[in-house]
């Protein structure tokens, strides 16, 4: 349990909720990252706000890490992603490519990810989102168990 961090988690979570609230009350849009990201390519129509949103997201992650090194990750920025589990004898880049494909395809077909379904959908009490969240959390836990990636 040494890595359990409830306070930064709750502060960060509230900021994410506030982000979703601002986009909903201001522009009437769901702050679902897979949707905002996935609709950058044609036949996309409203690209400008999506690009601005994503640039601000990256910029704020960068700025927060620099300005407030004492909170969150303590100034430590993630230097690496996961490694492919040794038992699978798959190069890490290939492992991440498969994970990326599944993430992009799944969130497109299922219409949302952790933010769109997990935060916004549950908050809207959407039946679809309750089902999606139950399924992708369950499958993700099972995948971690089966692949031994931790």
């Amino acid at each position: 349990m040494e890595s359990f961090s409830p306070l930064p988690a709750a502060i960060g979570g509230s900021l994410i909720g506030l982000a979703a609230a601002v986009l909903w009350l201001g522009n009437g849009r769901i702050a679902g990252i897979s949707g905002i990201f996935g609709q950058l390519l044609p036949p996309a129509q409203t690209v400008v706000w999506r690009v601005v949103f994503l640039l601000a997201l990256v910029g704020a992650a960068f700025g927060t890490a620099r300005l407030f090194p004492a909170i969150g990750m303590g100034g430590d920025v993630p230097a690496s992603l996961v490694e492919a589990p040794a038992a699978w004898s798959i190069p890490t880049p290939a492992w991440l490519a498969v994970a990326g494909l599944l993430t992009g395809l799944g969130t497109k077909i299922g219409n949302g990810c952790t933010s769109g379904h997990g935060v916004c959908g549950i908050a809207r009490l959407s039946r679809r989102s309750f089902v999606a969240v139950g399924v992708f959390f369950g499958v993700a836990m099972l995948t971690v168990f089966v692949t031994g990636v931790v």
Partner: protein, 156 residues
């Protein structure tokens, strides 16, 4: 075209910035930390990290309040309509998509939000994940042409 007016764009920027700050502060940009939440087999040994639950619950609560408040309004501040998803049927596309996404999330420990936020830190191999995520998303939209219109048609 409300989408190009300054307040609309400024709102998108403010929301994106809050989101990025939240992802960093909550440490959800750390794939290992997310995986330590998903690794429920570590519960008996005490190695499980429940932090992710402490992120998503307050996020849902804040958004829930905003949604309740929005119900008393005709429209958002800077557009003429709340873009509420109209389709509400639980179907195989929803479940199949959630299964595929769950597999990808369990393999890498990063979902789309953290993947984008990590561009600020440039960890090795991130570009591979982002490009394949975009390819996957684009392939999905080929499989399901004009997703929203077609699903709406199906619903009738």
């Amino acid at each position: 075209m409300p989408h190009l007016r300054a307040p609309y764009i400024a709102t998108a920027a403010a929301s994106g910035a809050l989101f990025g700050a939240g992802l960093y502060v909550s440490q959800m940009v750390d794939a290992q930390k997310v995986l330590r939440f998903l690794d429920v087999s570590a519960i008996p040994s005490g190695g499980w990290d429940p932090s992710l639950a402490f992120v998503i619950v307050p996020a849902i609560l804040v958004m829930f309040l905003a949604v309740q408040w929005s119900k008393r309004r005709q429209a958002p501040l800077f557009d003429s309509v709340f873009h509420q998803p109209e389709y509400d049927k639980v179907d195989m596309r929803l479940i199949g998509g959630a299964v595929l996404f769950g597999m990808g999330w369990g393999m890498a420990g990063i979902c789309p939000g953290p993947a984008i936020a990590l561009m600020a830190f440039g960890p090795e191999n991130l570009a591979i994940f982002i490009i394949t995520m975009l390819i996957g998303s684009y392939s999905g939209s080929m499989l399901i042409p004009s997703g929203h219109a077609r699903r709406l048609a199906d619903a009738r």
